[in-house]
Amino acid sequence: MIYEPSALAVAVFLLFVGVTLAISFRLGAQAKSSQGYFAAGGGIPWFVNGIAFAGDYLSAASFLGICGMIAFYGYDGFLYSIGYLAGWIVALFVIAEPIRRLGKYTFADALDSRFNSRAIRLSAALSTLVVSLFYLIPQMVGAGALVKPLLGLPHWAGVSIVGAVVVLIVVTAGMASTTYVQFLKGSLLVLFSVWLTVLILQRGLAVDERYRASVGNPFAVQQTLRVTADGQRLVNGLPQGKGPGQADFFPVGHVSKLPDGQLETGPLGPIAFLRTLQQSEVVLWSSATTTELDGSRLTTYSQRAVPGSEILRPGNSPTFKGVRSDKLQDKLNFLSLMLALFCGTASLPHILIRYYTVKDQAAARKSTVVGIGSIGFFYILTLYLGLGAMTSGAIDVTNSNMAAPLLARSMGELLFAMISAIAFTTVLGTVSGLIVASSGAVAHDLAESFVREPLTDHEKIRIAKLAAVVVGVVAMALGILFEKMNVNFLVGWAFSVAASANLPSLVMLLFWKGTTRQGITAAILAGMVSSLAWILLSEDTFKDVYGLPPEQAWAPFSQPGIVTIPLGFLTVVVVSLLTRPPKREADTD
């Protein structure tokens, strides 16, 4: 779909960018020492940190990806919400207090607290970089998806703008500015999502005009996109555009039948909205792509009426089809993803370093409780936002990531401007957290390990800033390369790698005295390499990244967690047992 840029949206967007940069420059003075740059001096109030957790965590994947998935497939997107939130239980009950107690600036600090091992620092830094890059890709893709309708700029421009602004935020004031940008973004995201949800409920549900008529078959209408061998895009047989002799996709997302023959419901309460939808019929669009003899690729979008009871049950999307499949592999794929979401949160480097920005364990715990409250509340709202988009008559059949902003546009230009700008700030907040985590790993863990002596504060910060620029540029390149993938799907992979590489060694370090430095190093490397290899050899990567037939994939199913997380635990136990110190030494440890 071609989007008309909105002057109001541009103004709000520029205001948001201006405010975030002003915060960064104002806090720049706090980032002169390592403690200030990497951990905001440890002086962030717990409530601010808790909302900043939400700002850090509620990424483009949460906002754009989940809403898009619910809008296109129904309940399945909510499974991500449930899994993402459940992961905070591991963070609160198992990780929060120890990581604050044992660490200083990075995740490697905690892992290395008992050993002073160069190998642990190197492997933990490597894992931080890999996980951060995997997580950065969907954020950048989300940025590109947003800037298209907001500013009328191409995808690559959106990715580049986000990259440049975030690098500026991080380089200026490190964790202090990142925290306050995330606090601002977390607060605005939750508040405006509440507003949008209230409007969805006020609007209620209505049968679209075209499905009210008793003549003809409205479901027979299709939309097509042909991309010719020389790259020309034809929509419904005409060049894509808004001018004469051109055509563009029309917006979709309609109710075709309401219970008891109603044509519209009027305002509904939160429970009544779900109940009514359960008894209604909604038009969903699916796509099929074929390659023609002339080398062009034809994608046909077709509609079908789906009962609400089907939409509100799990297993409708390609990602979660395993729920309704008879194949064991498909079931394992589902369980594997849900396990990775559960274990992944407490293994994400940019989440873990947020525990160092508060003064003590109690503050770490309290901020996690605030984070769970705000994140959980937002995830409940995602169900309404997604279903609201599904029935808004405003969504783009070609781009699930745009469902939430287009839903807002159906409510009015001001709300669209605000939601788009907030979504853009959402990307800024998460990306800046990831870049701080990566630059900390490079400056504090990698660089010190290589020079084999402590760096001065000045040197460490200089290296961190340089690393922030490099990571930012790499993230921009990857964001452009992965333009077409659903952002939520990519985040699922980041969670799998994080959970496989980081969680086993962290948990075993905390709860098993027999853990050795070799065990920790081996577990990080085994978890990271095995999960990465699994992903690269999976069906989804073959299909969506390499463009190869999915049946050629080597991995038996796409999500690695159910194999690679236990492998990480097994590795730390076996290697620790094999490398444990002699009995006498162990006794005096």
Partner: protein, 95 residues
């Protein structure tokens, strides 16, 4: 082989074994709820379609229940940790 229990740390802000135990119990409680959700989806997905209350199906009720349960357990943990900290600070406490 050493047993599975909180590792000793020598940093100024020490771990509280009681808080750790409490955290593990609450974690186990939530893990059971979450595992039940995964198992129900994987083994009996048709159960998720039933509408036991207010015309809303099990998938939504259980999913929202998990989100609420996380918040309730988190609040409970914070309240109990504060009590443990208070008791530990009292004369004769662990601290």
């Amino acid at each position: 082989m050493a047993g599975f229990h909180p590792a000793t740390d020598t940093t100024p802000e020490a771990a509280s074994p009681r808080r750790t135990r409490l955290g593990l119990w609450l974690f186990a409680t939530y893990l059971a709820l979450y595992s039940g959700f995964m198992a129900l989806n994987a083994v009996a997905p048709e159960r998720m379609e039933q509408t036991p209350w207010a015309g809303v199906n099990v998938a939504i009720l259980y999913g929202m229940g998990l989100i609420f349960a996380a918040f309730v357990l988190a609040i409970m943990y914070e309240a109990l940790c504060r009590r443990i900290d208070r008791q530990d600070r009292e004369p004769g406490g662990d601290a």
